[in-house]
């Protein structure tokens, strides 16, 4: 083991940074995973990682510079090397335009507690469930389960000492027919595997395969669709990643106003549709303080330790806020708006489950998953991607079969005004972005004129 604890490494780094100051973040990442394919476990892992990241502040002729360095450390000398590298980078980089006085944040009483570990017994719970699933030879099963425990130690030269523990779990199950002509998927995110019911997921994916036995060819075009919570989450996460105050103020975003400035205050949807980031959202809790070793349009290392409040980026259909650091907020002439690491998407009139919402649609397509989402045109935020693992045909409020897959070309901003119905928000696993953004509570929605641009023959 290392000669010094992660909490101690933060203290030592700040001591070595001296009066010029800076930010130090030590992280322990413990994770364990299982992967399976063709109804058999394949790869797995039990990983322990520890990293120290430093932002060194250095005085320059016209302000304060910030240099970054990160790596693994075992000794005080290792930390000194990191500090030296970060300071040298700070000197070379010159004055940082986002330099501000550091905020004096909280001092957590448990700061010197040890990092948390992953309970491998939880993985065994999943493995045992899969053992039963694999006995079902009506289909083949594929998937992934990961449990991680991240412990962050954050210190600044303004006295902030934060210890934060984030548990994250993720379970995915895909079933395919032996002929590979049908495919269904389900996913669940959370903090523990203890509430993952492998049998229930198995029943769900097999039900999807049953629906797909009746294949109905549907031509590309503008269709009325119900997007599942997972599918909408993937689109709204991209919207959030684009909701930068600076980019909008500079005229380089879908949220830029034609006549200059931003579109904050503009109605984007006729419905009472709200997109939020809330660090205290039940089941999606995440750190309510800024941690940033480095700077971007959304965050500044100089803001580390400042509290993150719940933010409605879109509130009742109106663009309400754009993400920023203190610096970029000033540039954009908008309130300082740090964003938490989760997303909540609700509709004030949304009610019912995904199935009930799709039934109310009467006629249209129920899209369960989106995949390979990429930006085509930043000006309209046109995104492209694919439907995957279940596009169901709804007629007279009933699922009557499954359609082929499609490539979509659609803007998550432009489509807001075509939402005509919504269900109740549920916690979900965003299929595309779960590696980076696993915490989401999102409502399913019905959208008119969704652009299913071309046909995909993929299963």
């Amino acid at each position: 083991m290392s000669d010094i604890s992660l909490a101690q490494s933060v203290d030592i780094a700040l001591e070595l940074l001296g009066q010029d100051g800076g930010v130090a973040v030590a992280e322990s990442n413990a994770s364990a995973n299982l992967r399976w394919a063709n109804s058999s476990l394949t790869t797995n892992g039990d990983m322990h990682e520890r990293t120290l990241s430093i932002a060194a502040f250095v005085p320059t002729s016209d302000g304060v510079g910030a240099g970054l360095a990160s790596g693994q450390i075992r000794t005080r000398e290792d930390i000194a090397v990191l500090v030296k590298r970060a300071r040298a980078a700070g000197v070379a980089g010159g004055a940082s335009e986002d330099a501000r006085e550091l905020f004096s944040g909280p001092v957590d009483p448990d700061f010197y507690n040890e990092p948390v570990a992953v309970d491998l017994a939880q993985l065994e719970h999943v493995a045992n469930g899969l053992g039963e699933t694999f006995k079902n030879d009506s289909a083949q099963f594929f998937g992934y389960a990961e449990q991680s425990a991240d412990t962050s130690y954050v210190g600044t030269s303004a006295g902030t000492r934060i210890r934060f523990v984030q548990h994250t779990s993720r379970f995915e199950l895909c079933a395919k027919s032996h002929e590979r002509d049908r495919s269904s998927w389900t996913g669940q995110s959370g903090t523990t595997f203890s509430d993952v019911d492998v049998h229930a997921h198995t029943v769900a994916v097999l039900e999807g395969l049953e629906f797909q036995k009746n294949r109905i060819d549907i031509e590309p075009g503008l269709h009325k669709v119900t997007l599942s919570s997972s599918a909408l989450a993937d689109l709204m996460i991209y919207l959030m990643w684009t909701a930068s105050a600076r980019e909008a103020a500079e005229g380089r975003s879908v949220f830029s106003a034609t006549a200059g400035g931003t579109r904050v205050g503009e109605r984007l949807s006729a419905r009472d549709f709200t997109v939020s980031a809330d660090p205290n959202a039940h089941g999606l809790e995440t750190l309510n303080r800024v941690i940033s070793v480095g700077s971007s349009t959304f965050a500044s290392t100089f803001d580390t330790g400042i509290e993150i409040a719940p933010v409605d980026v879109i509130r009742n259909g109106v663009l309400n806020a754009l993400g920023s650091s203190r610096h970029t907020a000033e540039m954009a002439k908008l309130p300082f708006t740090p964003l938490a690491d989760n997303i909540v998407v609700t509709d004030a009139h949304g009610h019912g489950s995904l199935q009930e919402t799709a039934a109310r649609m009467q006629d249209g397509l129920l899209i369960t998953c989106l995949w390979y989402i990429r930006e085509v045109d930043p000006q309209s935020l046109l995104l492209t991607g694919l439907t995957r693992d279940g596009v169901y045909v709804v007629r007279d409020g009933e699922i009557i079969g499954a359609a082929n897959n499609f490539r979509f070309n659609e803007s998550p901003v432009g489509m807001l005004n075509r939402i005509v119905d919504a269900g109740e928000a549920i916690n979900c696993l965003p299929r595309e972005w779960a590696d980076w953004f696993p915490r989401a509570r999102v409502a399913p929605v019905v959208i008119d004129g969704f652009n299913l641009s071309t046909r995909s023959d993929a299963i």
Partner: protein
């Protein structure tokens, strides 16, 4: 910082491998990997981020009772190495309870003690921050002189992998490879919105010499960039429909990556990525008979290309680097394999495509350099353009997306030059090309000669769960395609 010292890897390997062997592991592999990176980004000439990272970890992978087990740690002590071996054994035993597909590895001769280093010119890590910043700022200053340019984003990144591999077969292999990349994007904000234009230099397995003129003509591209941007701002929006395309290697490398590179991964074709990245239309039953493209289509996989991002001496299973055909005369003839995947289909030997992006991740079948071979003659890009009556010459990559069996894809680019009667007449904008993989490659009428060949590539190829990121290169000549579906990006947004 903790670094790989001369005897440390061998001592740790002996500790870990002896624990694995004593516990009955049939296979045991030990790795240490150190990854150094440096990055500097400028926004409108001001340094936004400057920093470096050096990460190092060890891992142990075993096969017990026919199942893999893997464990890793960033703690480089002897006790940690032994603990990793024990944890890997435990994971293998857990996995073996519900595995019905026993791991068998294709044979590979032992290579013993080996050392391999990717040749480079100047060590980018030895360059001072001041020197690198000054270079980026000189680029920024030059481009910012043009009135059409309102904003400039510029960055450079450098990477170095230093790895050690040892196994129960007596291999002890040390390797080092470097890579470097840089991009500059100029943006215009006007009354009708915004447009941008980016340099097309691909990342490369080179040193700092790459940023100063060896391997890429920065002078020429930076000088031309504002004009390219101005033409794009003033360009008419493309008419959606069917067009002939001449695609430059700065764009075509990405189409190769998505529609050939990933499609010929044998683990995908056999279903091992089905839950995440997907499968492949190029299934094993098609090997040797499937018409992937036109007869001028010849594609190789390799881990030996000069300056290649996937170039290496040995993979993470101790398999020596090779080169082979994936597609010959338009017919699917090969796949990318690791040792266990190769054995599943009866291949005698892996072609050396097992690797991980760090020691904390398990090696999986990853992509070698996958390249479209040029014509034997000296056909130039202008020769190809001259054969087109109504078409578009596409340069530089931008947006990309492809479905989970690698059929339906859609790409954009940086610059779209309209071709009329064999001549370039100006730029178009909002161009999106969309096709189905076998249709697209079947429509390839001609490829350019070696003078048009360029090694493109990316640093961010993603695959696997947990997700792994790998650099990879793709060589391509310019190529002529007939009758490709063109969408208009603006119209798609307002459909």
């Amino acid at each position: 910082m903790t670094h790989i010292h001369h005897n440390l890897p061998i001592e740790l390997a002996q500790s870990a491998l002896s624990v694995a062997a004593d516990s009955g592991a049939d296979v045991a592999q030990f790795r240490i990997a150190q990854h150094d990176s440096r990055g500097i980004s400028l926004r409108d000439g001001i340094v936004e981020n400057i920093g470096s990272d050096s990460s190092i970890a060890l891992s142990v992978r075993v096969v017990v009772n026919g199942a893999w087990g893997f464990a890793a740690s960033t703690d480089l002590s002897e006790s940690s190495a032994r603990d990793a071996a024990l944890r890997a054994l435990a994971m293998a035993r857990l996995s073996a309870k519900v595995s019905s597909d026993p791991v068998v590895l294709a044979q590979e001769p032992a290579h013993g003690t080996q050392s391999w280093v990717l040749p480079i010119g100047e060590d980018a890590f030895a360059k001072s921050d001041d020197e690198v910043i000054a270079l980026l700022q000189s680029w920024n200053t030059r481009v910012s002189r043009a009135s059409i340019v309102n904003h400039i984003d510029a960055h450079t990144a450098m990477g170095r992998d230093t790895t050690f591999f040892a196994d129960l077969n007596g291999n002890a292999i040390t390797q080092r490879r470097d890579r470097i990349s840089a991009q500059l994007t100029a943006s215009h904000v006007g009354d009708n919105g915004f447009e941008d234009m980016r340099t097309c230099a691909p990342p490369a397995g080179r040193g700092f010499e790459y940023l100063t003129g060896t391997g890429w003509d920065w002078e020429a591209e930076l000088s031309a960039l504002p004009d390219y941007l101005e033409q794009k701002v003033k360009a008419p929006s493309v008419e959606a429909g069917t067009w002939d395309l001449v695609i430059d290697p700065t764009n075509l490398w990405l189409t190769i990556h998505e529609s050939i590179g990933h499609a010929t991964e044998l683990d995908r074709a056999l279903g091992y990525e089905a839950n995440y990245a997907g499968t492949s239309f190029a299934t094993i039953d098609k090997l040797g008979t499937f018409k992937y493209g036109s007869p001028v289509m010849n594609v190789t996989g390799d881990r030996v290309a000069e300056h290649g991002l996937s170039t290496v001496g040995f993979d993470d299973e101790g398999v020596a680097a090779q080169q082979w055909h994936l597609i010959k005369d338009g017919i699917l003839t090969g796949y990318q394999t690791d040792r266990s995947i190769a054995a599943k289909v009866g291949l005698e030997r892996s072609n050396g495509c097992a690797f991980a992006d760090s020691a904390t991740h398990v090696p999986i079948q990853r992509m070698p350099n996958v390249s479209l071979q040029p014509a034997d003659d000296d056909t130039t890009t202008q020769d190809l353009i001259s054969r087109v009556n109504r078409g578009i010459y596409i340069v530089g990559d931008k947006s990309w997306s492809i479905d989970m069996q690698r059929y339906n894809f859609q790409f954009t680019g940086q610059r779209f030059f309209e071709i009329k009667d064999g001549q370039i007449v100006g730029q178009l904008k909002d161009v999106v090309y969309q096709s189905k993989t076998p249709d697209f490659w079947g429509s390839m009428e001609a490829v350019g000669g070696t003078s048009t060949y360029l090694l493109g590539g990316a640093l961010n190829c993603g695959k696997g769960q947990p997700g792994q990121v790998a650099p990879v290169s793709h060589g391509a000549p310019s190529a002529l395609f007939r009758g490709i579906n063109i969408l208009n990006g603006r119209q798609e947004a307002s459909a």
